[in-house]
Subunit: 362 residues, 2 copies
């Protein structure tokens, strides 16, 4: 594996997962002269249209992963629920970035919280909950409103239940399928922000300006840049992201979501070892997008400067909201991105748009 990096133009990058994130990374890879080979169970996945080759197989199909390894110079992934073990096996025959350890940490909310607390990063108070009795104890222990979440496979608000302080929660554990869970104390936060950061193969670090995020029903609705935080909070958020990346010997882009408490404290909500929905604005408001930044990192190129040239508000188009596309196309200063998905099911991310405006000083 020596002298493989930086990848020369014309090299191929393997992408596990072919959703919209893979699709946008395929465009970014092409800009840098690279080809992309996508592995996804769905031959009609959004990234397939832009891939130079597609391998249609399950994410844990070891034979298919080996075939992918034979076609490319490095492998990355576009979502955090790729099974860890096959990816770890793959990493023994070809470089895989971000490292499988990052997947392992991000896939299990208990492991994630323990990892963060273990390196001195604050989170909401939490307890691991494996059965209804543990839930009772944890609920009393934490006090106040809480959120019960499955440890694994949650995304976009799925696998979560809010437990009110004085309400019955007897059914809650079984309601999430009776699987190992985590109870998190609900934090009265002032705002949610995220930092999209990157670490290069040389250990260099770069972070885009924090975005201020609004969720609805657990799905990101909008990201506004700059976030209404102080310079000190901005720096603190970037420092936290950097300590996470360094600890994981990470290579690539990560999304780190924070609650900003009413006292101004930063608590990490979760980390996503991949490009992140709250970083889509970078394509409209920065010279180097998060997608190019990730490709640069996994290809062993220098990280790009993350400065923004414009302020931005990104909004997701979820389900039938994609019908707004035609009117958005007529608006000045709007970059619209559609994901090429044929069916606009409720809750499905169909596209997004970013409204840019001249850069403010913040």
């Amino acid at each position: 594996m020596t002298n493989r990096f930086p990848l020369p133009p014309g090299a191929a990058i393997g992408m596990i997962g072919g959703g919209q994130l893979g699709r946008m990374m395929a465009s970014a890879a092409a800009r840098l002269g690279y080809r992309m080979v996508v592995l996804d169970p769905d031959a009609g996945c959004p990234a397939a249209q832009l891939a130079s080759e597609t391998i249609t197989a399950a994410y844990d199909d070891r034979e298919a992963l080996a075939r992918l390894a034979g076609r490319v110079s490095v492998v990355t992934y576009e979502f955090e629920n790729v099974p860890v073990e096959p990816v770890r096996a793959l990493s023994r025959i070809i470089p895989v970035f971000p490292p499988p350890e990052a997947l392992e940490v991000a896939q299990d909310r208990v492991v994630e919280k323990a990892f963060l607390n273990g390196i001195g990063i604050r989170t909401a108070p939490w307890r691991a909950v494996d059965d209804p009795q543990e839930l009772d104890h944890a609920f009393l222990d934490l006090g106040g409103d809480c959120i019960l979440k499955t440890r694994r496979l949650g995304y976009d608000g799925k696998g979560q239940a809010v437990l009110r302080e004085n309400a019955s929660h007897g059914e809650a554990f079984d309601g999430l399928g009776g699987v190992p869970a985590i109870l998190e104390k609900k934090i009265p936060f002032e705002r949610e922000i995220s930092v999209i950061a990157a670490r290069g193969q040389d250990g260099s670090f770069a972070a885009f300006d924090p975005a201020e995020n609004v969720h609805g029903l657990g799905i990101l609705k909008s990201s506004t840049i700059p976030a209404a935080v102080s310079p000190e909070q901005r720096q603190a958020a970037c420092d936290i992201a950097q300590s996470i990346l360094d600890k994981l010997t990470y290579v690539g882009v990560i999304g780190v979501e924070f609650f900003v408490g009413k006292d101004g404290a930063l608590l990490v909500n979760e980390i996503a070892p991949r490009v992140h929905n709250s970083g889509h604005w970078t394509e409209a408001a920065c010279t180097i997008s998060q997608f190019e930044q990730h490709i640069r990192a996994v290809a062993g190129l220098p990280l790009g400067n993350p400065a923004r040239h414009s302020d931005a508000v990104m909004e997701n188009l979820i389900g039938s909201e994609v019908d707004r596309a035609s009117s958005l196309l007529g608006e000045a200063g709007v970059m619209l991105t559609l994901y090429g998905k044929s069916e606009a099911r409720p809750g499905r991310k169909m596209g997004h748009f970013t409204r840019v405006s001249p850069r403010s000083e913040a």
Copy 2:
């Protein structure tokens, strides 16, 4: 063909030609949710990697063009030397934008100049030249230094010879192959500018800010935005572009190159009925790039606002200049684009980069 437009997301656009322009349009089409089917004689052409399908055939292969028509909702092209007749035949079975008439005008320098002069647009003085005797007469007639160019198939300075006022030019006509030619008087211009403009299916018009261009050996070296021209010149250049587009009932993006004379007059040098090298900066400095603008027009979407958010200097990477890529990747404010071509032959466009800076008032 009624109600075909605007193309719905998921529709396919046919692209005749699979070079870097087609490649960049494939990315832009994907952003808008469209697929692209590329027809090119070279299966390994730059656009093939981003196309959802590639038809490997000659540009004038009527059977292959018919196959393309069967796969897509509209056809466009990425270079002006596509043979007109097969494209005209194609346009009888499927919408083709820009219209074949634009190809016809742009492919022959005599037809082009006559068209421009015919709608009141100034060019350098010129004479059609079909044999050495006509060259003698034209040379005396025009007076001063001249440029002899083949009428057809010239690009990037190929098929041209400078004839000095007092030097022998006996070999010049045969030197270009003895083909029909045009003699153009050499204009002592102050600068060269270009306007990248678009016309929508509804007749709407939009022009990006003029670029100031520097050529070397007939190949574009750099484009600087804003160009050092007065507001009146800028407006005049856009008005000229609009009159060309309207006259051609054009749909799509066009590049119009101008000489700015020492007296400030604008003379059109040539038009290119496609996205244009001197418009590559739009991807780095505008919310809507020339590539997206072209896709919007051919898909029947509203044209995007062409305002720039940044100033820009675009430089081509020609032949071995592509070796600069690694150092450019380390520069802040630089967007680098490589075309995925394996071999860096002299004179071959391998990529480009755009340096952006905060927008000036001009």
